[in-house]
């Protein structure tokens, strides 16, 4: 019997779009994906987050059919897909490098999946134009991919993947090559598109901000394993272990000895920098707060926020301040910090 530990059955009675049971994929001695269990609900915007080499892209390629698992079981909408090649899966991919066909026009690129199915030219071109309208790229039908900007290519790749009406859309770091402004705009558009179409989106990214802002749920990958699955709020507020705490947002991790000295509680704790407040001279902390004193090591201005590092005996705490304090402490000055007891989140001791 194979069990899926740590995965509660979906609360809403939705069909499961993608199910991994103890899936492994090894490349030589490298365990790219190591006994992964995963359930992605239909209609969900699901992000796979992790550093490079963590196995998230291999998981995506396992769903697409470019890779076959060495062990375990994969289902897409209830159908077993082991041994089923990519071209027999109703799943489409937006590639990291877009992978547009350079010898075809934009329209022919988008109509490709329909041409393969043998649809007549007029009909497939009409559908391709609809798909291009969906991603708001009209009037470029006869251009070649080389004549387009990065953002336009991204839209073509998206339209091409959507035109065949896939059951699951896979996106492999699709925003990685875009500049910041365009990336933020595309994040909003992708989310909106997914809501409108109701297709399951599986999104691979190494950008935690992107994963948090776009996904309904996300899985955090490290070393071929899933560290945690949950909604962005859950994962951010209650990281299961040190890796998640450090990778999803910034975090101060308190080791057992330090935690005991500072709080009286023994264990690994995560403390988000924005939960820590800077106490002014003579200011008393809010009730049920913990207080620590330390020397200010650095102070950086980030526009909306300020980032302080404070050396408290045994640990250096990072503090993020949203508003400017009444008086800015100088470097080397001793400052007092306070945070609510509830801001401390106990983590698994492993990893």
């Amino acid at each position: 019997m194979v069990e899926a530990p740590g995965l509660a059955p979906c609360a809403v009675a939705q069909p499961v779009a993608v199910r991994f049971q103890q899936v492994s994929r090894h490349f030589g001695s490298v365990r790219a994906v190591d006994a992964v269990d995963l359930e992605i609900a239909a209609g969900e915007f699901f992000a796979m987050l992790g550093p490079s080499g963590s196995g998230k892209t291999t998981c995506l390629r396992l769903i697409a059919g470019f890779e076959q698992p060495d062990a375990g079981h994969i289902e897409i909408f209830g159908d077993t897909v082991e041994g089923v090649p990519a071209y027999r899966r109703n799943v489409n991919t937006v590639f990291q490098d877009y992978a547009l066909f350079p010898h075809m026009t934009v329209l022919d690129n988008v109509a490709y999946a329909l041409r393969i199915r043998g649809m007549a030219k007029a009909e497939r071109h009409a559908k391709a134009r609809q798909a291009l309208a969906l991603v708001r790229l009209e009037g470029y039908d006869d251009r070649r991919p080389v004549q387009l900007s990065g953002g336009q290519r991204q839209r073509v790749a998206l339209a091409r993947a959507l035109v065949g009406e896939p059951k699951v859309l896979l996106l492999d770091e699709p925003l990685g090559a875009l500049d910041l402004k365009l990336r933020e705009q595309m994040q909003v558009e992708l989310k909106e598109l997914q809501r409108r179409l109701g297709i399951t989106f599986v999104f691979v990214t190494h950008d935690q901000g992107e994963a948090l802002s776009m996904s309904d749920r996300l899985a955090v990958f490290n070393d071929g394993r899933i560290m945690q699955v949950g909604t962005p709020e859950e994962v951010y507020a209650r990281p299961r272990n040190r890796f998640v705490a450090g990778f999803v947002g910034a975090s101060n991790v308190l080791e057992p000895e330090i935690a005991e000295a500072l709080t009286g509680l023994r264990g690994h704790f995560s403390l988000r920098p924005e939960r820590i407040a800077l106490l002014g001279a003579g200011e008393s902390p809010a009730p049920d707060s913990l207080v620590a004193e330390g020397r200010l090591e650095s102070l950086q201005f980030h526009g909306a926020t300020r980032r302080l590092t404070v050396a408290v005996p045994g640990v250096t705490l990072v503090v993020t301040l949203a508003a400017a304090p009444a008086r800015l402490p100088q470097q080397g000055e001793v400052v007092r910090l306070a945070w609510p007891r509830a801001a401390l989140h106990a983590m698994d001791e492993s990893s």
Partner: protein, 317 residues
């Protein structure tokens, strides 16, 4: 103070002649380009194009049948001679051979090039390059003569067929009309095999180079969008590799059109264009006809490239 030893200027000027020259060239890249390109362009312009033009001019002269001297008057008579059955035969024979060599070498080269471009890594890739290039390191004449021995009646091919009790098969092949002959080394089939062997690297390398430039993600994308391997080949791989195939076919086709040594050493005694040129410009002293024969491959290649362009062979460039 170490700073005191450094020159206290923001911009250094002057210096020796060489230094000023290099400064000039660095700041005017176009001048540098012109200097670098002028010698080869002059060479190409004067020696190559000039010779080609002289050749073209010769082909419009004719030879006086009685004196054997060249008459320097503009005429199309020499081109008319090309259409005589004996000469036309030579042209058709050569073009057919070149076409067969090109088609078969493309068919053989593609899988090899595909393997090298997509699958071979590290040591296997080195082995591939070595295997393709190694024959080019030895003399062309040595290789052709080696093939004459291999294909001869007393050669290893005949022996292998005999050992395998397949002599009847070889005899059957040699009994075929036109392509057959007394032995492989004295038949069109033998000429074809040697052409194929000698020009194959010139097909493999450009095809491999063009396949190398097709990103793996494009092939994955076509599969992702529902294309079976056969459809992916027809709609993505082949169109993108076509410039390489065309480049390779230009080599195999034009090299076969112009070669006069292989058919002389291996094959029946009937002439190919190259041999006709060789004979006419040599002992026969008929330079105009030799020139007219030479123009034939040029015209054929012109049409070939035009046709390839029409078919979209260069669209992926």
């Amino acid at each position: 103070m170490t700073e005191a030893t450094l020159p206290l200027v923001a911009v250094e000027r002057g210096g020796g002649l060489l230094r000023r020259l290099s400064d000039t060239l660095v700041t005017r890249p176009r001048l540098l380009l012109a200097i670098l390109l002028a010698p080869p362009l002059l060479w190409l312009g004067v020696v190559y194009l000039g010779a080609l033009f002289a050749l073209l001019l010769q082909s419009f002269f004719s030879i006086d049948e009685f004196s054997g001297l060249i008459r320097h008057e503009f005429t199309l008579k020499t081109y008319g001679e090309l259409l005589q059955p004996a000469n036309l035969d030579i042209i058709i024979r050569t073009v057919t051979m070149a076409a067969c060599v090109t088609l078969v070498s493309a068919a053989i080269a593609f899988p090899i090039a595909y393997y090298a471009a997509r699958y071979a890594r590290g040591r296997w890739k080195a082995l591939f390059y070595l295997a393709v290039m190694l024959p080019l390191w030895s003399s062309y004449l040595v290789r052709v003569y080696a093939w004459k021995l291999i294909l001869a009646k007393e050669g290893i091919v005949t022996w292998i067929f005999a050992e395998l009790h397949l002599s009847w098969l070889l005899d059957g092949i040699l009994a075929l009309p036109v392509v057959g002959g007394p032995s492989l080394s004295i038949s069109y089939l033998g000429t074809f095999l040697v052409f194929l062997y000698i020009w194959l690297p010139f097909m493999i390398l450009p095809v491999q180079a063009s396949l190398e430039r097709v990103p793996a993600s494009l092939i994955e994308a076509s599969g992702d969008l529902g294309a079976t391997p056969r459809q992916a080949f027809a709609t993505v791989i082949l169109p993108l590799a076509l410039p390489g195939v065309v480049a390779g076919s230009i080599f195999t086709f034009s090299l076969t059109l112009g070669d006069y040594i292989i058919p002389q050493i291996v094959g029946s005694s009937r002439l190919f264009i190259g041999q006709a040129v060789y004979t006419h410009q040599g002992t026969a002293g008929n330079i105009p006809l030799a020139a007219a024969f030479t123009v034939v491959p040029i015209v054929i290649m012109g049409f070939y490239l035009w046709g390839a362009k029409k078919l979209g062979a260069f669209n992926a460039l």
